[in-house]
């Protein structure tokens, strides 16, 4: 297989997978928390949080990328302290690409999980409480297992979105081969070069393959879990 793609192209594919996996894995706990808060809690600023979460879905990706650069860039409002205190630099690194992908995919993840939480009958959670389960236990033993299909769907949706993220990524971390050049950036780069169509075609096939695999996998897992929790 290795001779099918050039080492540079492989690097782009591998980087995209790594960026997407990290983006999904790290944003998942926060995604569940935010989805739970939006679905179940009443608090001041709920609409603000909801708007903030959905902003990347509505804003042009370039704007999101630019805002990330202002915030998390080396001299950014948050970025300078990350650099000073923890030595963490996000701009123009693959970690920054992961952050950009996570931010862009976050609304999709939250929406899927929130729908799943809203579908859980709070009466079941009440029943668990009368049996002696505290709030965290109720969540771990009743809510979480019941929303697992939604979590899986949300995670895979987020992963697919992260794989395809382009605008915010290229604005925030640029397009450095081996560093920040993800699959979409690589396709964009080769298309800028005359005669790059053959390379682009191969990468496009990879992109389609990964997307299809993610979709099939999510359907398969979600169906299995749904059958398990249907209670028959």
């Amino acid at each position: 297989m290795t001779d099918w793609l050039t080492p540079d192209e492989w690097r782009a594919v591998a980087l995209s997978l790594r960026v997407s996996l990290w983006a999904t894995a790290l944003s998942l706990p926060l995604g569940i928390l935010v989805a739970y808060a939006l679905a179940r809690w009443q608090f001041w600023g709920k609409q603000l949080l909801n708007g903030l979460v959905h902003l990347p879905l509505i804003l042009p990706p370039v704007v999101t990328g630019y805002l990330l650069l202002l915030t998390f860039g080396r001299r950014g409002t948050v970025g300078q302290y990350l650099d000073q205190w923890f030595g963490i630099v996000l701009a123009f690194r693959w970690t920054g690409a992961a952050l950009a992908a996570a931010v862009m995919a976050f609304p999709l993840m939250v929406r899927a999980i929130r729908l799943a939480i809203e579908a859980v009958d709070p009466k079941l959670e009440q029943a668990a409480a009368t049996l002696g389960a505290s709030r965290p236990w109720v969540f771990a033993t009743v809510t979480l297992p019941l929303i697992l299909p939604g979590i899986i769907a949300g995670a895979i949706l987020a992963f697919a979105k992260a794989m395809g993220e382009f605008g915010a990524t290229i604005t925030f971390v640029s397009n450095i081969p081996g560093q920040t050049q993800t699959l979409p950036s690589a396709i964009y780069a080769v298309l800028q070069v005359p005669g790059g169509e053959a390379t682009a075609a191969r990468l496009v096939w990879v992109a389609i393959g990964v997307a299809m695999a993610a979709l099939v996998l999510s359907e398969w897992v979600a169906r299995g879990v749904a059958r398990r929790i249907a209670g028959t």
Binding site: K123, A129, G132, V142, P145, I229, A230, G231
Partner: protein
């Protein structure tokens, strides 16, 4: 084990203001839908927080709004059986039962005999269901599993919110005996919400009647159910007295002889061995009164009694409360009959009951009502 309940809460156009004590045994909260029954036991279980209130269970304060104290539901240890069983769909029956056990306090039994998994499974007859999932169970099976799950959490009190309301008559008849066994064998105090008089009459040791958010009658089941003053709220057709009886013999012609303080009674064959203590509900409208011992009459059951009081209704009916050998019997006759016969309090009469008129559902295979 006594529960003391006092709470007030103002909803939009409805005010709840109840106060009563629930002594050991089964305390039935009886009333029409919307009378505040469910809200009251939800407050006891901690699922609803009233404006004002104080609830104590065996000396433990569950709620005291003046002190700002409100224990969360998971620390109250009140087993709750909901109308819609609420089994966890992602777990098997066994896992559902184990869920109650998981959070139950460990260590030696605190109250009463052991309520281990085997005992509960046996008591409720759910052994064959253990590996199945709730989705495949019938309504009656679900409800029995829900009762078992609540019991295994080793509750201090079992709260049941119309546990039979969603079931058909056959399923109700299937579950009632199990509830009677819980009352008599586990000695677990229960708060039982219902609007079905037949269930209340069979299970309750204490009855609290709610109407529009207020307690209109409360006391021992036999007293409240045979109280003519409470009859309009309980429903005139449902008015009747509870009678403690003991199976004496099964006669060859298909009748069962019962002994009671009021005298012998014959009912159609009952499925209980001689010596079994039962309580039967005699509906007021099934009782006929005579001022002399009747002759040439088909009715088998003729009990001598003394009239305690007469309550004339607004309509054509009258409720007569009788004392028969210390037991209370309620008779519902027309005002015209009462006047024609010249009935007065203190008069000796005979109460006549057709053997066939006591329905099987009004026979509880349990201990006498005055526990």
């Amino acid at each position: 084990m006594t529960v003391q309940i006092a709470l007030t809460h103002r909803f939009g156009g409805f005010a709840l203001d109840v106060a009563f004590d629930a002594p050991p045994g089964v305390t039935a909260l009886f009333g029409r839908s919307g009378s505040g029954k469910t809200t009251t036991i939800n407050a006891v279980a901690g699922l609803f927080r009233p404006d004002q209130g104080r609830i104590t269970l065996d000396g433990v304060t569950l709620l005291d709004s003046q002190r700002g104290l409100c224990l969360p539901p998971h620390r109250r240890r009140i087993g709750y059986v909901f109308q819609d069983a609420r089994l966890f769909p992602h777990m098997t029956v066994r896992q559902n039962l184990a869920y109650g056990q998981w959070f139950a306090p460990k260590g030696p039994e605190v109250g009463g005999p052991g309520v281990g998994l085997d005992r509960i499974v046996d008591l409720l007859g759910i052994g064959a269901l253990l590996e199945r999932r709730p989705g495949g169970l019938s309504g009656g099976e679900k409800q029995r599993v829900a009762i078992g799950r609540a019991l295994l959490s080793r509750p201090r009190l079992l709260a049941l919110d119309e546990p039979l309301a969603a079931l058909d008559d056959a399923r109700k008849a299937e579950i009632l005996p199990y509830l009677e066994r819980l009352r008599d064998e586990l000695h677990l105090p229960m708060l039982y919400v219902s609007h079905a008089m037949a269930e209340v009459a069979r299970l309750a040791t204490t009855v609290v009647v709610l109407e529009a958010g207020r307690v209109v009658a409360a006391g021992p089941a036999a007293d409240v159910l045979s109280d003519p003053a409470a009859a309009p709220t309980l429903g005139l057709r449902e008015a009747g007295a509870l009678l403690g009886v003991r199976v004496a013999a099964h006669d060859a012609d298909g009748l069962t002889r019962l002994d009671s303080a009021a005298g012998p009674l014959w009912l159609p064959q009952l499925d209980a061995p001689p010596g079994t203590a039962l309580r039967i509900r005699i509906l007021a409208q099934d009782v006929i009164l005579a001022t002399e011992r009747p002759q040439h009459l088909s009715a088998l059951n003729v009990l001598p009694a003394v009239i305690r009081d007469i309550r004339l209704g607004d309509g054509p009916g009258a409720l007569i409360r009788l004392d028969a050998g210390g037991e209370t019997i309620l008779a519902r006759i027309t005002r015209r009959s009462a006047q024609t016969l010249g009935l007065v309090a203190g008069q000796n009469v005979f109460a006549i009951l057709k053997a066939l008129s006591v329905a099987q559902q009004n026979v509880g295979a349990t201990r006498a009502p005055r526990a």
